[in-house]
């Protein structure tokens, strides 16, 4: 096992804990937007697909890579778009705090 693999495992562990702490604080009110946002962020897989397509190492890799770019990009665009649409709908009462 190389030191790079080890450092990647460190990154995984730290990111998982960080994710736990950050996401724990998300209000249940926003659980649907949370899911569509993380889905859009997860589509960062598009960068791996771009490299495979661009390197043109084999026809198979180019074809599979292009399909992956399409699928991931649609998640990036659709995910951010719908998250923003949902969040724009969340409004508070006109009077601050609302009637008690």
């Amino acid at each position: 096992m190389t030191s790079e693999m080890l450092s990647n495992i460190y990154v995984l562990v730290l990111a998982a804990f960080l994710g736990f702490e950050v996401i724990k604080r998300v209000s249940p009110l926003l659980h649907t937007p949370l899911m569509s946002l993380t889905n859009a962020l997860d589509a960062i897989a598009v960068v791996g697909a771009i490299v495979i397509v661009g390197e043109r190492k084999s026809t198979l890799a180019t074809v599979l890579g292009t399909l992956a770019v399409i699928a991931a990009t649609s998640n990036v665009v659709g995910g951010f778009l719908i998250t923003d649409r949902m969040l724009r709908m969340f409004k508070t009462s006109p009077r601050t705090g609302g009637p008690k």
Binding site: T32, L37, A40, D42, V47, G65, A68, T73, F80, S93
Partner: protein
């Protein structure tokens, strides 16, 4: 592709992107900063993609551009779907995400075989297994939510043994490939078998389990991307995948807790099995009321708690509910909405529908707060919710939902339930709430009943 990592400009751009992703989720913690969170995510994504395009190993851009353009063209309509279609859209996007990682993993395997280290091949196998099973499972879930496939769980004897056997077979193939990464003939099975497993996994899942299942698939899609990060040696992917994975995991835990069930029970113990032991039918008489009578009681109330459920979503009644909320608020009545964590078909489903109808979000309250309010509430109005209001969950040890945290609507002074008929809920259990003396049933479609209530309430006093 570790070449991408050797360019310091790309690496710095990726670090900026990761920072923005973390901020993005942090800002999502409250509705006030949430939109800034989306913007941070968008900027981070843009930076990461542009930096990747600078990679010197790219010899041709044409297919990259075609992919980005076609993907955007597919993504736009997926971002503009109706709010009622959000659960199936979410399931579909999990399928797309998993599809992308499975494809990249497949391409990497054929590019590198037979010289793949055991560590990389293990990560690759995890990526492929999770990607393939999440792909088909999410498509199945989307099909059930869209009602292209039957929503009811399909169970048969030995189902769990078959499913676990198939999963074990996929793991054996993975272990073989880790030891012999040149076995290209075996590789297609590493894709196909988990795909079959994904389909079978969702066959026994019913509508009420969807919130947990969607969350779990969200988590798998994230973990698949994190595994891809190990294959491509990309910390950016590892972090993004881990964030998505932990988000999905936390949501699954919240959902299964809200149903008092474990993951394994959701995935391997379809409600179909507990149905057989369903509790004895509740007995007593049911009192029904017309919208006119109900409106009379509502007018006299000081506080009303509305309990929405999947039935409200099905009837698309959220806009009528908003009118109802306005009519009551105008009379000085305090109106709140009690939201059960698993109401609807995905986490937060009810909140989004009510927000779409312009109900202020500070009127939506969580289960624990609602339960401390119910004893002081004059009228609890249940619209299309069933099992999450069944008092049997508190005291009837024979009930399949015993122990499940519920909204204690039966503690309100008067309970009104809008329901199509007396058919039992998803779990096939009679709801004893309907037989209480304080409960009034208003039979009919949620949208038309709420509409009738609004008419009664506004007709009562002419401007």
């Amino acid at each position: 592709m570790s070449g991408a990592l050797q360019d310091p400009i790309i690496e710095i751009a990726y670090i900026v992107a990761v920072t923005l992703f973390i901020l993005s989720l942090k800002w999502l913690s409250s509705p006030a900063t949430a939109r800034r969170g989306v913007q941070a995510g968008e900027v981070g994504m843009l930076i990461a993609i542009l930096a990747t395009l600078l990679y010197r190993g790219i010899v041709s851009y044409e297919w990259i551009i075609i992919g980005l353009v076609v993907g955007s063209l597919i993504g736009i309509p997926l971002g503009l779907v109706q709010m009622t279609a959000v659960p199936q859209r979410t399931a579909l996007s999990h399928a797309f995400g998993a599809f992308a990682t499975a494809l990249v993993g497949t391409a990497e395997f054929y590019l590198r075989t037979p010289s793949i280290s055991a560590f990389v091949m293990s990560a690759l196998a995890i990526e492929i297994i999770l990607g393939s099973l999440t792909f088909t499972a999410s498509l199945m879930a989307a099909g059930k939510l869209q009602e292209v496939l039957p929503q009811r769980p399909i169970t048969y004897k030995g189902q769990n043994i078959v499913n676990l056997g198939i999963l074990a077979l996929a793991i054996l193939i993975a272990i073989y490939l880790v030891n012999f990464p040149g076995a290209t003939w075996l590789f297609p099975l590493l894709i196909i078998i988990p795909m079959i497993f994904g389909v079978l996994l969702i066959v026994p899942i019913g509508g009420a389990d969807m919130p947990t299942v969607i969350s779990l698939l969200n988590s798998y899609a994230g973990l698949s991307a994190a595994a891809m990060g190990f294959v491509l040696k990309s910390k950016l992917l590892i972090v993004a995948g881990a964030l998505d994975g932990s988000s999905g995991f936390i949501l699954s835990v919240i959902m299964s807790r809200a149903m008092n069930r474990s993951f394994t029970n959701v995935l391997f113990g379809a409600f179909g099995q507990v149905q057989e032991s369903a509790a004895k039918a509740a007995e007593g008489t049911v009192r029904s009321a017309t919208p006119e009578e109900a409106a009379g009681i509502l007018e006299a109330a000081n506080s009303v708690m509305i309990v929405p459920g999947y039935g409200m979503a099905v009837a698309q009644a959220q806009h009528k509910v908003r009118e109802f909320y306005d009519a009551l608020t105008k009379r000085g009545i305090d109106v709140k909405f009690a939201i059960h964590p698993v109401a609807g078909r995905m986490p937060g489903h009810m909140n989004v529908l009510l927000a779409e109808a312009d109900v202020p979000y500070d009127r939506l309250i969580e289960m624990d707060d609602a339960n401390s309010d119910f004893p002081q509430v004059d009228v609890a109005l249940v619209i299309g919710a069933n099992d999450v209001t069944n008092p049997a969950a508190r005291h009837d040890k024979n009930s399949p939902i015993y122990g499940m945290p519920i909204l204690e609507v039966d503690k309100a002074r008067t309970v009104m339930v809008i329901k199509r008929g007396m058919s039992p809920g998803f779990a096939g259990i009679e709801n004893e709430l309907y037989y209480l003396d304080k409960t009034l049933m208003i039979f009919g479609d949620a949208k038309s009943v709420v509409g009738a209530l609004v008419r009664e309430l506004s007709g009562g006093h002419d401007h």
